[in-house]
Symmetry: C2
Subunit: 345 residues, 2 copies
DNA sequence: CTGAAAGCGCTTACAG
DNA sequence: CTGAAAGCGCTTACAG
């Protein structure tokens, strides 16, 4: 590889002059500058980043650690992070942990060995120790979709509790009073928070009018699991008019089960999803869903950590919270009795 | 940040000894080694990567440039790249170009400024010049899902022409003789290759028995576009029994249109998708599709470029080609006349 | 087995 | 405006 010394020799100037041509072109005599630039161009010279970074004491690299990049939520998040980084001339190392906390801590070591300036992470449960040791090494941290739990770090999140509340309120307003909650394990913080939001909202409703909630837990939040769960539930008849789903795939699986049993959505049963995946709007029954601003979340997280890297002393840790939004499509409708009521009034 | 010099001072040894403790622990006296390791541990010391890389002349960083990380194909590809890199202790910088060749060339500059050792890229059309200049700078290249076009580079690809052939042969074997080809612009190389595969296979069939192909082109390969295109096509009646789709979303959109017109899939019309996305198996009508080994593609590409980085002189450029696979589910079936024929024989 | 020294490629005061 | 020199943090022969 050509070095700055080769360029200097070829251009007949000193080594410092070449460096100035690259970093402070305005202080060179125009003729000298042109001469040097031409040689750089001709040789295809690119300064050695390691040497530059060694001098500068920084490298404009950040790491992004996610549990599952195949999940559309994290894909969008990654896009947001990338675009924010690109705009600030930073670069992102992507680390996909496949939900394994062992792999997560290995990746943290890799990133620290790379001396990244900051790490954006949606940590697995119980990895606060590994994270604390990262911050001790002077690497800045921003937590995505998780509370900071006493760590010196910024965090960005979606208000999941509000998301749960949105879903329940929507069905409640449509007159639903018996609702299936079809979701995953409460070990998943997002699931727990949404359920908490649902319970809270429930308690604000006078007991006489309070919807009855039937909880069904899925091992894995997939369409096929949801299909089976609803098929099984329907064996004992149908004692509900609405379903709140943990994500859109669950909603699609549930709708398939209803259709197979000739139960019409939304005439007989309303179904609401979560995440508002790309496909939600093009489904057979376009899905009502809760949209999470994953891209914005990633963009904001990257901006936070980059601003911390650029201005460590002036930086104050903060928590940014985004609100999910209800997207109403065709999979939810007023209950029959509610429609009747509406006609009367 | 602590440096190797601080560690040496704290441990009461020379600077070279600390370095040896890190890089060649076996040559130190056990007592000295333990002493130094303890200090390293206590201080949370991490060697400066820039300095190491400057000495070593390499940094174990590769770049991955993709047009759209939201596309499940590229998401899976990225997972493969990441896992291969992780296994080889490399790290991946992710670059998402949003299909813009301007952004692509900016990213190439960024990556070259970072002095990555290699770049994996699915290039936009007409960027061979930018790529050539990258290789001139001594950065190794591997092309993903594109021919190398005279570049000094390895390449990995899926045999798209064979994929097209698989789809056509499947419908042909089921007795379909009038088939709609619902796909995107031939400017997209994959689309062009698949269509070429279809035409080739067509020509191998005796003219008397050769299926009639009706081509419909979509501006954008989305479910809603496909829905509209099929709705419009059906206005003039139904003169086909099968549909070959450019991707699974198109297939899902088409099926929705058929259902709305009370045309049953697969009894009246067979529909075959492409990509075998996660959701294909859980759709209302589980989709027959062509599966592309995206993860494997990424893994192989990363392995190729890493082996080139590790052994530049022994390396020989190569092209690795993967075969797509036909995944038969419930959206395709024999035509009615074919079923009759089967009964007779 | 340990320690002093050279050098990786660059940037930036500093003297001219 | 130009050029010689120091030093960023590390690794690795080399002498002891």
């Amino acid at each position: 590889m050509a070095s700055i010394r080769d360029v200097a020799k070829a251009a007949g100037v000193s080594l410092g002059t070449v460096s100035n041509a690259i970093n402070r072109p305005e202080i060179l005599a125009p003729r000298t500058l042109r001469k040097v630039q031409k040689v750089i161009e001709d040789m295809g010279f690119v300064p050695n980043a390691s040497a530059r970074n060694l001098r500068a004491g920084r490298n404009r690299v950040i790491g992004l650690v996610v549990p599952d990049i195949s999940n559309p939520f994290f894909t969008d998040l990654a896009r947001g992070v990338n675009n924010a980084a690109f705009a600030a001339k930073y670069v992102v190392i992507l680390c996909n942990t496949d939900e394994s906390s062992e792999k997560e801590s290995q990746y943290l070591d890799v990133l620290s060995a790379q001396n990244v300036e900051g790490i954006l992470i949606t940590p697995a449960r119980e990895t606060t120790r590994a994270l604390a040791s990262v911050t001790e090494k002077g690497i800045r941290l921003a937590l995505v979709d998780r509370p900071a739990l006493g760590l010196q770090a910024c965090s960005v999140a979606v208000n999941d509790s509000y998301g749960g509340s949105l879903a329940l309120t929507h069905l409640y307003d449509l007159g639903h009073r018996s609702i299936v909650l079809l979701t995953g394990s409460e070990d998943i913080p997002q699931v727990a928070d949404r359920n908490a939001g649902i319970r809270e909202t429930l308690n604000e409703i006078p007991a006489s009018d309070r919807p009855n909630i039937i909880e069904l837990r899925l091992d894995s939040m997939s369409a096929s699991n949801a299909y089976s769960a609803i098929m099984k539930k329907l064996e004992s008849g149908i004692d509900f008019t609405g379903v709140i789903c943990g994500n859109d795939l669950i909603a699609l699986g549930a709708i398939r089960a209803f259709r197979e049993k000739n139960i019409s959505v939304p005439e007989d049963v309303s179904v609401i999803g979560y995440d508002d995946i790309d496909f939600a709007g093009s489904a057979n029954v376009p899905l009502t869903s809760i949209s999470q601003p994953a891209y914005e979340l990633g963009y904001a997280a990257a901006e936070l950590i980059i601003s911390e890297c650029e201005n460590p002393e002036r930086h104050v840790h903060q928590r940014v919270e985004f609100q999910p939004r209800l997207i109403v499509r065709s999979s939810t409708a007023p209950t029959k009795s509610h429609r009747a009521t509406l006609k009367i009034s």
